[in-house]
């Protein structure tokens, strides 16, 4: 590979994986997003990026829960009263959903890769159903996926098949559920 441009990458990927759709360039500013529809495609596209297109570095791997506004019961404490509130202003007690935004009952895993030689970035995204969010692990491609996938598993409950050591990493063992899910409700524990 000598010269790679964004349009070149889009062409190559589209030829090889016809089911991949390319998101509008404004989705993540400065990063071209490729939307995969199945786990095999997801793994295949990322492998193609790494092995054929020179995207050698995994920037990060994370996930977004598109369910809607965050559940206020997910927090332990009540919202702090604000003594500096101007007269007549209403306290913002919980986050309101945006009525014009299309929330959906899905998780979306986002993987951002870098090609340092060409100074390019690409994102591979895949939507997963809420009931059984499963995805092949990237551990065989990058070992850095180890902890990043464990974090995504811990905080959002997405299972990575083929991960050698998929267990909680950041939250304590007694925490039930996955805190970064929008419908997470905190269960009282010994510290409450």
């Amino acid at each position: 590979m000598t010269e790679i441009s964004v349009s070149g990458i889009v062409e190559i990927i589209k030829k090889r994986y016809p089911s991949i759709t390319v998101a509008e360039p404004s989705l993540i500013k400065g990063v071209t997003s490729f939307k995969a529809s199945s786990g095999t495609d997801y793994l295949g596209v990322i492998r193609a990026f790494k092995e054929d297109l020179g995207f050698e570095y995994l920037d990060f791997l994370t996930a977004v829960d598109w369910k809607g506004a965050v559940d206020a019961r997910g927090y332990i404490m009540d919202p702090n009263p604000n003594p500096f509130l101007p007269e007549g202003a209403v306290e913002q007690s919980e986050v309101k959903a945006n009525p014009n935004f299309q929330y959906r009952d899905h998780f979306e895993v986002v993987v951002v890769l870098s090609n340092w030689k060409e100074k390019l970035k690409a994102a591979v995204r895949i939507e997963l159903t809420r009931g059984n969010p499963r995805l092949p692990s990237l551990y065989d491609l990058w070992k850095t996926a180890d902890w990043q996938e464990r974090e995504t598993f811990d905080l959002l409950g997405i299972e990575f098949e083929g991960h050698p050591n998929l267990k909680k990493i950041l939250t304590p063992d007694f925490i039930q559920g996955h805190p970064l899910r929008k419908d997470y409700v905190h269960v009282k524990d010994q510290y409450d």
Partner: protein, 373 residues
């Protein structure tokens, strides 16, 4: 009856805990280590003791409030945390930053890099068994913190870089005091080399110890001085320039062998580069506004996503920010370099001796506030 023992005798393996409270873990980190005699056969870093769920906290706070939360990740170089969040949010909002604010931001970040690397220099010396460098490092670090105190009133958790610019202009006399410090600090850098960098005992403990090859480093996603110590020339400031770094003249410091000493010495040389950058910023500091016009009190950016990343003191610090059009971020993900760098210990420690483990752990230079977030 006397049994004869051969060297091939199978001995029991022993499991020991290092931490969570241990002076050389630089915070609350537990390392579960399986030993065969003196040699490590398995290492399992256990993190999460400082997990405060800041990513979730940001989901119920306005954008201005989130800047305060960012200070608590890498509290040793909080300016870069402020900067990266502001860059991501400004991308979402499409704000233009005034030139003076940009120069002040970069000057602060580089001063913070010096302060952070000085902390590393001091504590790494203690890890290895040299106490004196710590006193020297903290003497100079105080001066940097004094400069921060002058400009924003805080010595930690600055909350100085805000959406659209910076909180306050540099007070009168700040620039002079900074140049004075830089001039003084350049002589000190040579002193550090005499004191620690080329000390024969220090060299014995760190050179050829804990070697991380370039392939390993890329595989494990290392960034910052840890990656450059392995000979990979990648610096976000050069490869994906942000703010005004494309206008500044500085070198990317790269090590050779990937040993503890290489990682250490990359940081020492980076301090000299940071001095150069701050000098350029002071020389070219334009006059004008320090805050963009029309920054909303309660910003509600249009639905969209942004990714911004900067070269923090510990590596490639990134923020992935999603907005659904409300006044709070819908999702915020921190690409925390310490967290990603720490994972390599699972591989890098195997086969080393216990005493070398401390040297390797110190050379990775983690801040647990950022690891656990």
């Amino acid at each position: 009856m006397i049994e004869t023992h051969s060297s091939s005798l199978k001995t029991d393996q022993m499991f020991i805990n290092l931490g969570p409270q241990h002076p050389s873990t630089h915070g609350v980190l537990r390392l579960g280590i399986t030993l065969d005699g003196e040699v490590i056969v398995k290492a399992e870093p256990d993190v999460g003791y400082l997990h405060r769920g800041t990513e979730k906290l940001c989901e119920v706070r306005g954008y201005h409030h989130c800047v305060v939360v960012t200070d608590r990740w890498d509290y040793v170089s909080a300016m870069t945390n402020n900067l990266v969040f502001c860059l991501a949010a400004e991308k979402l909002m499409g704000l233009e930053i005034p030139a003076r604010a940009n120069y002040l931001r970069v000057a602060m970040c580089e001063l913070n890099r010096i302060a952070s690397h000085l902390l590393f220099f001091g504590t790494y010396g203690i890890d290895i068994g040299a106490f004196t460098p710590f006193l020297h490092a903290f003497r100079e670090r105080e001066m940097v913190l004094d400069l921060f105190e002058m400009v924003c009133g805080a010595r930690m958790t600055y909350n100085y870089i805000r959406l659209g610019g910076v909180m306050a202009d540099a007070p009168p006399g700040w620039a002079d005091k900074t140049s004075e410090f830089l001039k003084y600090f350049k002589t000190k850098l040579r002193e550090y080399d005499d004191l620690l960098s080329f000390n024969p005992i220090f060299l014995d403990r760190t050179k050829k110890v804990g070697i991380i090859t370039a392939e390993q480093a890329l595989d494990w996603g290392l960034s910052g001085p840890n990656l450059r110590g392995s000979g990979v020339s990648y610096d976000v400031r050069k490869t994906f320039p942000y703010s005004i770094y494309d206008k500044l003249d500085f070198k990317v410091c790269v090590g050779e062998a990937g040993s503890c000493w290489d990682r250490y010495y990359v940081r020492m040389r980076e301090m000299a580069e940071s001095v150069k950058i701050v000098e350029q910023c002071l020389a070219a500091l334009p006059s004008g506004d320090i805050m963009a016009k029309g920054v909303a009190k309660i910003p509600t950016p249009l639905p969209g996503e942004a990714y911004a990343h900067v070269e923090g003191a510990r590596g490639d610090l990134g923020i992935y920010l999603v907005s659904d059009g409300t006044s709070c971020p819908y999702r915020l993900h921190v690409r925390a370099p310490s967290y990603i760098n720490l994972a390599i210990l699972q591989e890098a420690l195997v086969g080393l001796r216990v005493a070398d483990m401390i040297a390797v752990l110190g050379s990775i230079d983690i801040v647990l506030g950022e690891v656990d977030r």
